[in-house]
């Protein structure tokens, strides 16, 4: 019989909570179970885990036991609606086949060589385990950016025309993707819907207002741009207003509408030095 091993203090942390907080007989909250189940890197990984967890020998797996355990994990994953790779189900089918072969009377000896799925499974488990193990060893090696920091000092002066670094559009987009993923901003409805042309127009309108002048609302709509252009301008103005980057004036009902930057009159100028001067 299996007896659960004593839980140690360096047990896994699930959402910051050590697992040993859960009494052994208590059912694991689905969230925690999900975290465990999602860590498996595929059916071989799950099988290896089941085998190693019980200190079983890969060469002598009790197939019926392992199959049953495997299936209960698969069921649990399906209950939690974890997206199951097809490979998990394929493995389930393979295990079922092995099981049925074992229960059936032995077929004649002429069975083709190498066709025993159980031997094949043992071979694959061993092979996978080698790479799993060595990948952990490689991951543990010091590497640049994590433990190793190469020195790259700027020169005090440089004598050549330094060629300007080039940037490819895909590098830029991937950088953007990464920062957005990190900040989890892709989920925001606000920015998903916003066409980029609006953003461009916002910059343009804002810049036109920088000399402190008031600009007629109507002058921002160019018939030449067509209906779409008008819509883009309009949304840009609304967005600028919402962000309090501009204000909209109308001295009396039906009078011309004007735009200006908030508190216009104090004549701001473009101060580039402001940017480099305000270093942290």
């Amino acid at each position: 019989m299996q007896t659960p091993e004593p839980l140690t203090t360096d047990a896994a942390l699930i959402r910051g909570e050590p697992l040993d907080k859960f009494p052994e007989d208590l059912y694991i909250p689905p969230d925690a179970l999900r975290v465990i189940l999602e860590t498996f890197e595929g059916p071989l990984d799950l099988l290896l885990y089941l085998i190693r967890r019980q200190n079983l020998d890969i060469l002598d797996i009790p197939v019926l036991l392992i199959t049953q355990q495997y299936m209960s994990y698969i069921d649990a994953m399906q209950d939690l609606e974890i997206e199951l790779a097809g490979e998990y189900l394929l493995m389930a089918a393979m295990l079922a086949e092995i099981k049925s072969r074992m229960l059936l009377p032995r077929p004649p000896v002429e069975e083709e060589e190498g066709a025993d799925p159980r031997a094949e499974l043992v071979r694959r488990l061993q092979e996978y385990e080698r790479y799993k193990e060595v990948s952990e060893n490689i991951d543990a090696m010091p590497r640049v950016g994590r433990e190793l920091f190469p020195v790259q000092l700027p020169p005090q002066r440089i004598d050549v025309d330094k060629p300007l670094p080039q940037l490819q559009i895909d590098e830029l987009l991937l950088a953007f993707r990464e920062v957005m993923l990190r900040a989890e901003l892709f989920t925001s409805h606000h920015i998903q819907r916003e066409p980029l042309s609006v953003r461009e127009r916002m910059s343009g309108i804002l810049e036109r207002l920088q000399n402190g002048e008031r600009i007629a609302f109507a002058s921002l709509f160019l018939p030449a741009e067509g209906r779409l252009g008008v819509v883009v301008s309009f949304i840009a103005i609304l967005e600028l207003t919402r962000e309090e980057l501009i204000q909209i004036d109308q001295s009396e009902p039906y009078a011309a509408i004007h735009l200006c930057i908030p508190g216009a009159g104090n004549k701001p100028t473009l101060q580039y030095d402001k940017i480099s001067g305000d270093s942290a």
């Binding site: 020169p155 901003l185 998903q192 066409p195």
Partner: protein, 234 residues
């Protein structure tokens, strides 16, 4: 003065910690920053840090790298005498743009007009002045206004030059956020932007290399680390 007295005792371990930090840092480090970084490494006070910096400065006096004090603090630089030699390093290969710079530019592109503080908010780290300066010098971004809040932070937007350098006519041609999110759609968008119909053809040409010649159980890493351009996004 007590300063003079303590200046004779250099804490070697603190000096090496400072040396490590300055060798790895992207820019200058102020004494205050060093003090906070070293809080768990001997917790030297500012005086002790200054003493260690002086000792380091003296040690490097005769070396190719030199420790200098600039506006933002202390930094190592390659000595001016080697300007021409070091220049050769870049003649052959333009320097790479940092990830921080690319992310900053991308955020300005997609969320303009926005301020440095807003970029920092999204990135979760501070944006160095030198990045903003580089982008302004490169004329990829411009100041389009100021946010009317205390401090009046500048608001940045992208420029025509940016569009030209990236070979797009307007920002509208860039992929939308949902496209960027989905890697396969992003691939498609990039190919569209490059005006390529099918990159497959290109890689076919590179493919002449046979498996045999590539068979590298030899332990030798292949010569050029760069994957063929066309593979960059596959």
């Amino acid at each position: 003065m007590s300063e003079a007295r303590s200046s004779e005792i250099v804490d070697e371990s603190i000096m090496h910690c400072i040396e490590a930090l300055l060798m790895a840092a992207d820019g200058a480090l102020s004494i205050e920053r060093l003090e906070s970084l070293l809080a768990n490494s001997g917790e030297p006070d500012r005086k002790a840090i200054r003493v260690a910096l002086k000792a380091l400065e003296a040690h490097y006096a005769e070396r190719a790298a030199v420790l200098v004090e600039v506006a933002g603090g202390w930094r190592f630089q390659v000595r001016e005498d080697y300007a021409e030699l070091v220049g050769k390093l870049w003649e052959e290969r333009p320097p790479r743009l940092s990830r921080a710079l690319m992310e900053t530019l991308a955020l300005i592109c997609y969320r303009q007009p926005l301020s440095r503080g807003e970029i920092e908010e999204v990135r979760g780290v501070s944006v160095s002045s030198s990045i903003i300066k580089t982008l302004l010098e490169r004329e990829w971004i411009r100041v389009v206004g100021y946010r009317e809040v205390p401090g009046r932070p500048a608001l940045f937007g992208t420029t025509r030059q940016f569009l030209d350098d990236f070979n797009v006519k307007s920002l509208e041609q860039l992929p939308t956020l949902p496209e960027i999110r989905d890697l396969d759609r992003l691939d498609e968008a990039v190919r569209r932007l490059r005006g390529e119909t099918d990159t497959q053809d290109e890689s076919e040409e590179n493919a002449e290399q046979t498996v045999e010649s590539a068979g590298s159980e030899t332990g030798e890493a292949p010569e050029s680390p760069e994957p063929p351009q066309s593979d960059a996004l596959h």
